[in-house]
């Protein structure tokens, strides 16, 4: 009797375990498939986008009318960003796939710049057409390789999950078709060296620039600590933690931090001269007692105190009970956009909670400003006639290729939107058009 009961119980539990195990297995597979599907989608999208991209560049080369080229360029630009998005969805983190991404980024930058340019006044130069056809060739080869891999994937029913396993397990038996295929693609791209790109077309990744306005003697750690204490305005008994940056930093910096009274303070000082690059204080902020305007006055006073002269308030924004202000250097009545400083003010008591002067220290210098060849009235004619111009001002900006240029900057309105338009004051070229919109409707008004 007991034996029969035992047998029954065992049989039932074995069956139950089997059923449970099978369900687990199915669930796991379902999830694996889902992940796999995502990868597959991105991969096929990528191939498709690359193909389409090449096709579009090709038709552009055949076009003559300028009206058509601009939208076409915009379309290519859109496709490059689609393709870039696809690449990022693939588990290629361990593969050296940077070159392909950079290639896409370069096509994107070139086509964007061409698309926004007035091709009637400044048509494509011979060099640019040549460059474009080289892009066409390169993308053609990449597409071919990708299509090959795609074909193999479909034919042999290859799975990205296996790729991931192969990459993660890291052993040499990487006889994986997808991995090999992508390595080939990458090699294809590496074949085209940077020489293809003229000097004005490089610099897509605006590398961190050197700091050209860092002056003064090198500070010892103790001097740095003193300086930080003064900036934080804290007493000697509060413990200040100070560290130095490593070799990845563009210039040697002391970072000082403290924590007391519910406040967290942090500052980056250049070891040379002790200039504050970043200053941040975090604390809970009470009820608003100061207006944004009063906050601005506090920020201005702070800049004066630390000898940032001739800075003009350029933009102010209130985020809850914080005021964030941007200042721009002004030289001889010309606004110098690259030399900017941000300041954060708590609107409960007016305390300065932040200073960001990285751009200022990287760019600031006394410039020799040439006389504009084009008057404001002449520049005004270059602006789209539908824009209702309100104000104008001379300004130095950094253009698309990272050069500083003197411009007439116009603030204008069109259909209830405000635009800032920069016209080169020497050549009359429209350097940049910017739509100014810094507010957004709350999605959930109850918040």
């Amino acid at each position: 009797m007991i034996r029969w009961i035992a047998i029954t119980v065992l049989a039932v539990s074995v069956t139950a375990t089997a059923v449970w195990g099978y369900q687990e297995h199915r669930e796991k597979n379902a999830i694996l498939i889902q992940a796999e599907n995502n990868y597959q989608r991105s991969f096929h999208d990528l191939s498709y986008h690359m193909d389409l991209l090449q096709d579009k560049i090709g038709t552009t080369l055949a076009m003559d009318s300028r009206e058509q080229i601009s939208p076409q360029m915009a379309e290519v630009w859109r496709l490059t960003s689609e393709a870039q998005a696809d690449v990022s969805q693939l588990p290629l983190a361990l593969l050296p796939f940077n070159k392909t991404e950079e290639f896409l980024s370069k096509i994107g930058d070139f086509t964007y710049r061409t698309a926004v340019r007035d091709l009637d006044k400044e048509p494509l130069t011979d060099e640019e057409v040549k460059y474009l056809s080289s892009l066409y060739d390169q993308s053609g080869q990449i597409t071919k390789e990708l299509r090959k891999v795609q074909n193999l994937v479909l034919k042999d029913n290859l799975r990205w999950m296996d790729v991931q396993v192969a990459l993660a397990s890291n052993d040499k038996q990487a006889d994986n078709t997808i991995v090999d295929g992508f390595k080939t693609v990458e090699k294809t791209v590496s074949g085209f060296d940077e020489g293809n790109f003229g000097p004005s077309l490089t610099g897509t990744s605006r590398e961190n620039k050197p700091y050209r306005f860092v002056k003064g003697e090198k500070l010892s750690k103790e001097q740095g600590e003193d300086r930080a204490r003064k900036l934080f305005n804290i007493k000697d008994n509060i413990n200040l933690n100070i560290t130095e940056t490593g070799k990845g930093s563009d210039l040697p910096i002391y970072s000082a931090s403290y924590r007391s009274d519910g406040k967290n303070g942090y500052v980056d000082l250049t070891q040379k001269g002790g200039n504050p690059i970043n200053l941040m204080i975090d604390r809970e902020i009470g009820e608003q007692k100061l207006s944004l305007n009063e906050g601005l006055e506090k920020a201005e006073a702070y800049l004066k105190k630390y000898d940032f002269d001739d800075m003009e308030a350029f933009q102010s924004n209130q985020y809850d009970n914080l005021g964030v202000f941007s200042f721009i250097y002004k030289q001889d009545g010309v606004l110098i956009y690259p030399d900017s400083i941000q300041i954060k003010v708590a609107l409960d008591n007016g305390e300065i909670l932040g200073l960001s002067a990285k751009d200022y220290y990287q760019n600031h210098t006394e410039r020799e400003i040439k006389k504009p060849k084009i008057t404001a009235e002449e520049a005004r004619d270059k602006v789209n006639q539908n824009v209702d111009i309100q104000t104008n001002q001379l300004a130095i900006i950094e253009n698309d290729v990272g050069e500083e240029v003197l411009t007439h900057s116009f603030l204008g309105t069109l259909n209830n939107e405000t635009y800032r338009i920069f016209i080169n004051a020497q050549t009359g070229v429209e350097e940049s058009v910017e739509k100014l919109s810094t507010k957004e409707e709350k999605f959930d008004p109850s918040l």
């Binding site: 990845g248 305007n293 709350k442």
Partner: protein, 295 residues
């Protein structure tokens, strides 16, 4: 129609009585708080400013309590028309002129905002909430009686100001190129990745996300960077879906507004838990909290 007329006269009589009992010097005091209102500001004063500018026909945008470009140009046009200094800042003089020239029914505006109604405050038709339930006759009457009501309006407000609590602005300032969604997503990522870190460490993680968006070897969107497979552990293990706190949000806003304690880093790792040997080969910038930041 007859009933409406009667009630209308009642209202007018009432306001006149109130007007008589109230003292005159309230006139300017009750409009606006003493603050100087400038571009970028948010709050009830901005709601009043927009309402009054709209009453006079200068402002065509939505009354949302955020002093943006639309409000700025409206105020400048007002200053031009009324012979004031044209600076786009609502100082004492501009506010006084505005209060004298326009009407502002605070309770009505606040109520509309709280209810989320579509409304406007164009002169003569402050009750037209765009829902189609106003009839023309009523509107015309309203306009006809406007002049009589005018003198007493501000006293009226003064008496009622305490009744309706102020409504919150219906819009927010967002840094250029960012939507609230991106800020939220970033706050999620920062909270999931670095909630145990000091404040600066959280700003730093947000900065890395932004530096990656800028970098050509990473995706070009915030979501692309965050959801890039194998990029962030918090995304992989689902911690990104924890609800972030206010500190992470502030950290994200700081990073977007230009604070970058990582000085341009695009990688970070926890030296105690890092499994990839490769990450150690990146040039390190600095250590903040538990994380080492690298380029």
């Amino acid at each position: 129609m007859y009933g409406k007329k009667v009630s209308f006269f009642l209202v007018i009589t009432l306001t006149v009585i109130l007007g008589v009992t109230a003292t005159n010097n309230q006139n300017s005091v009750e409009a606006f708080s003493p603050q100087v209102i400038q571009q970028g500001a948010t709050g009830t004063d901005v709601i009043e400013l927009q309402s009054r500018l709209q009453y006079l026909g200068f402002y065509n945008g939505k009354i949302d309590g955020v002093f943006g470009w639309g409000t700025y140009w409206a105020l400048r046009n007002f200053q031009y028309e009324f012979g004031l200094e044209i600076d786009g800042i609502a100082g004492p003089e501009a506010k006084q002129k505005l209060a004298d020239a326009s009407e502002y029914d605070r309770n009505y505006v606040m109520e509309q905002i709280r209810k989320g109604n579509d409304f406007n405050t164009y002169g003569g038709a402050p009750k037209n909430n765009g829902k189609g339930n106003t009839n023309q006759g009523n509107k015309a009457q309203n306009q006809g009686n406007q002049a009589k009501k005018k003198g007493n309006q501000s006293q009226n407000q003064g008496n009622q100001a305490g009744n309706e609590t102020a409504a919150e602005p219906t819009a927010v300032n967002v840094p250029k190129g960012f939507s609230q969604n991106e800020i939220q997503l970033m706050a999620n990522a920062v909270y999931g990745e670095a909630r145990g870190e000091p404040y600066v460490g959280q700003v730093a993680v947000a900065s890395v996300i932004l530096n990656r968006v800028e970098s050509p070897t990473f995706p070009n969107t915030v979501s692309g960077v965050i959801f890039e497979p194998r990029a962030f552990t918090a995304v992989a293990d689902g911690q990104i879906w924890l609800t972030p706190n206010k500190t992470s949000r502030r950290a994200v806003l700081d990073a977007i507004n230009g604070w970058d304690p990582t000085l341009g880093s695009i990688y970070y790792f926890n030296p105690n838990t890092a499994t990839s040997g490769w990450i150690w080969s990146r040039p390190q910038v600095k250590k903040i909290g538990q994380h080492i930041f690298a380029k």
